[in-house]
């Protein structure tokens, strides 16, 4: 009997869930609007009803071996989602337990960057690489750290918050987390927008981006402008790469990874973000580490890569 797992990638607006086989092949895939569910129990019920039905019909000759969930502020030790800033679910949600009410299988729940790292390790470019970092460059900056072939969870299950390391101590941009100077306030879709607006204030270069309001400006606008040669947009990418490169040098000094993978919206900018990051990382690395660390765009599928990674955590962790 074919063994499959259920993967769920929970985002602030939408979630993706699906049935995946051991090779990362997606057998069934569905979307649900997270934002429509104030009550996480209803959200779980929605997914469970669909999957239970599928398992009775189309997939009745398969065996569900477990459920893997990637969620913001997911705690693998407790199976909970804890105070997620971008979800409507307040406080601590015992999401693993909710799923166990419907399915008598193990449930693994961890943060979204960690499941992407597992996906990258099992089905992507990190195959065979035992020490690496995966960065998700979306609205914020998430990270999964892999040391000697295993995800780093830390003593409390919350390790890998590189987005909240400090670019500047005690000063710098205000972060939604309450601190100042966090890396994600500079390096993320939101961060590059803030950098762009600083540059619009500082420079005199003409730019059609001067016609777009802060709220309307997306990182894609900045990407497109940079592609067309817009000076300010190019400079925004350069500065973003400089800060990320400098902080990656710190990360390398911690765990000395062989590679860093970039996943998520801003990563789609490709060389515009990768090249300056690589240049400045090398510049800031101590000699011991120079010319040893490769930077790659993630080879995971954009729409369901994290979901496939979530499904794979079952094989990895159980």
């Amino acid at each position: 009997m074919q063994e499959i797992t259920l993967g769920i990638d929970i985002g602030g607006t939408n979630s993706v869930f699906g049935l995946v086989d051991k090779n990362g092949e997606v057998l069934f895939r569905e979307k649900v609007r997270t934002i429509d569910y104030d009550d996480p129990r209803q959200f779980v019920k929605f997914i469970a009803d669909i999957i239970k039905d599928k398992l009775k019909t189309e997939f009745k000759d398969t065996q569900l071996k477990g459920i893997g969930i990637g969620a913001p502020n997911g705690n693998i030790l407790e199976g909970t989602v804890e105070y997620p800033p971008n979800l409507k679910w307040k406080g601590i949600t015992p999401l693993s337990n909710y799923f166990k009410e419907y399915f008598q299988v193990p449930v693994v729940l961890t943060n979204d960057a960690n499941v992407a790292a597992v996906g990258e390790m099992m089905f992507g470019g990190a195959n065979g690489i035992k020490d690496f970092v995966l960065l998700t460059l979306g609205t914020g900056l998430g990270s999964g750290l892999v040391v000697n072939g295993n995800l780093v969870y830390g003593h409390d299950g919350f390790a890998g918050e590189l987005g909240h390391t400090s670019v500047y101590i005690e000063r710098g941009r205000q972060c939604a987390c309450g601190r100042k100077g966090c890396l994600e306030t500079y390096v993320s879709a939101n961060g590059i927008r803030r950098t762009l607006f600083e540059l619009l204030a500082e420079r005199l270069d003409e730019s059609h981006l001067r016609n777009i309001s802060f709220n309307e400006m997306t990182s894609e606008d900045i990407y497109k402008a940079a592609k067309k040669g817009d000076n300010i947009a190019r400079e925004a990418f350069e500065l973003t790469g400089q800060i990320l490169g400098a902080k990656l040098a710190d990360t390398v000094a911690h765990i000395s990874p062989q590679a860093v993978f970039f996943y998520g919206g801003l990563a789609k900018s490709g060389d515009l973000i990768l090249k300056p990051t690589k240049y400045y990382m090398e510049h800031y690395l101590m000699n011991t580490f120079k010319n040893k660390v490769d930077l790659y765009l993630s080879s995971l599928n954009d729409t369901d890569g994290a979901m496939v990674g979530a499904a794979a955590t079952v094989w990895k962790e159980i």
Copy 2:
């Protein structure tokens, strides 16, 4: 037959070596001046001759199971000491192989902070703690990272260089490693001396430390002055703790350790360094990590703790 290991802690000036049992009990212990040996082969011969003699006589009823070595810039993957700034041995020294010419046992060689971390884990305060950091605060700042019960070596064997993370990007104090703004230029016996001299220049407070030259000033002088209430010396410890606390917050965001242990000369200052470090670490931590990480002075013996840790790496790694 009692199983024992040979532990060797190599320092720039002196090295300590000894025979240690599985419980960390030191059965035999000797010192050698590293600095007197331009040729590492002669250094190895000196140790080997003594130990071979001991194993034939006093310890003829024991079995040597392996050799553990802690050395600056030690590479566990290659068994080499590579470009150590504080040793006379130039280039790459295949120290493990030199020892294997005398003893037909496995040899583990890694950096000095890593062996101290193993000692702390097996015989010290980190017993039972699976995620922690050990900092050696000596002339420089060394570190050993333990994740899920295992040392982090990274893909090249050189992970754990927290002394060379950046307090300031692209600016700040010159470091012997060639970079600027490295943590160890602020937080180490040498770093606190530099901070003290900045304060002597900046402030007007009377201090008997104004009578000591830069070359003559030791971190012990600063410690003693602080103990007597010297304002500038106290401020130097406060600033050192602030910078260390801020950077430890970054380290916590990486691997979320349960505890941080302080070993080495400057750590002997006790609360003078521990208290401000704890205060500022908590101040700079993101909410997720607050009030979860304990700071401790190492419980390893000052003179041979690292040697005992080196001996223990044999049990840990083989």
